[in-house]
């Protein structure tokens, strides 16, 4: 079974701190997506990373795809309460494979 493992499962930090969450697999992915889900809503796509070693920035969020395309990280600088939510990574291992989702990192930013 191809899995996407996300760590940590839960993270609670103070506003203004920096943090990194991880998405790891033993399989190679053609691309990985990151989503954020707020309570009572569906996941919302944040970014897609495609090329090994790629770094994408979305304001205070920095996404990196591992060189071997087996892992990805999300770094948040100066976290704000609005960053609170469930962060999911997702991807399809092969061109014809269905997308699989990690179980997510639940992030809580304390004001």
């Amino acid at each position: 079974t191809q899995l996407l493992e996300q760590s940590p499962q839960f993270l609670s930090i103070q506003e203004g701190e920096n943090l990194t969450v991880y998405c790891n697999s033993s399989s190679v992915f053609s691309s990985l997506q990151w989503y954020r889900q707020e309570p009572g809503e569906g996941p919302v796509l944040l970014v897609t990373v495609v090329t090994g070693g790629e770094v994408k920035k979305l304001k205070r969020l920095t996404f990196q795809f591992g060189d071997a395309r087996k892992d990805s990280s999300l770094h948040i600088t100066a976290a704000q309460p609005g960053d609170t939510g469930l962060y999911l990574c997702a991807g399809a291992p092969g061109r014809d494979d269905k997308i699989i989702f990690g179980k997510g990192t639940r992030l809580h930013i304390l004001p």
Binding site: P43, V50, I99, K103
Partner: protein, 114 residues
């Protein structure tokens, strides 16, 4: 925003009754998906569709059926609801040709089977 709506948003039903959830999209996306989200399991694929009248099973399809008679609508039916089907159900769409597996989700339906 892919313009995806789900109905109903909340439903309570009794064990053994049939239930149909509806997903409607306005973006003309070819692919549509039904997921369920449960604590400890994350998002799991139930069924998906790659076109009108073209559907296939996902990871957790037992007890569920789907139909897609129009591009914009994807229905999920629980033939005889069980308590194990209490969950939050999400519909998602994906545009053909993007090549990057990006999905757009609806707001979800919270289903409780008593």
């Amino acid at each position: 925003d892919a313009g995806i709506t789900q109905s109903p948003r909340h439903k309570v039903t009794e064990t053994g009754t049939p239930v149909t959830l509806r997903c409607h999209q306005t973006e003309n996306h070819r692919y549509m998906y039904w997921y369920r989200q449960d604590p400890g399991h994350g998002l799991r694929l139930i069924h998906y569709s790659y076109g009108v009248k073209d559907t296939d099973k996902g990871e957790v399809s037992d007890g569920y059926s789907v139909s897609r008679s129009k591009t914009e609508d994807f229905l999920l039916t629980l033939e005889s609801a069980t308590s194990s089907q209490t969950s939050v159900y999400f519909c998602a769409t994906e545009s053909e040709g993007q090549g990057s597996d990006e999905q757009y989700f609806g707001p979800g339906t919270r289903l409780t089977v008593t």
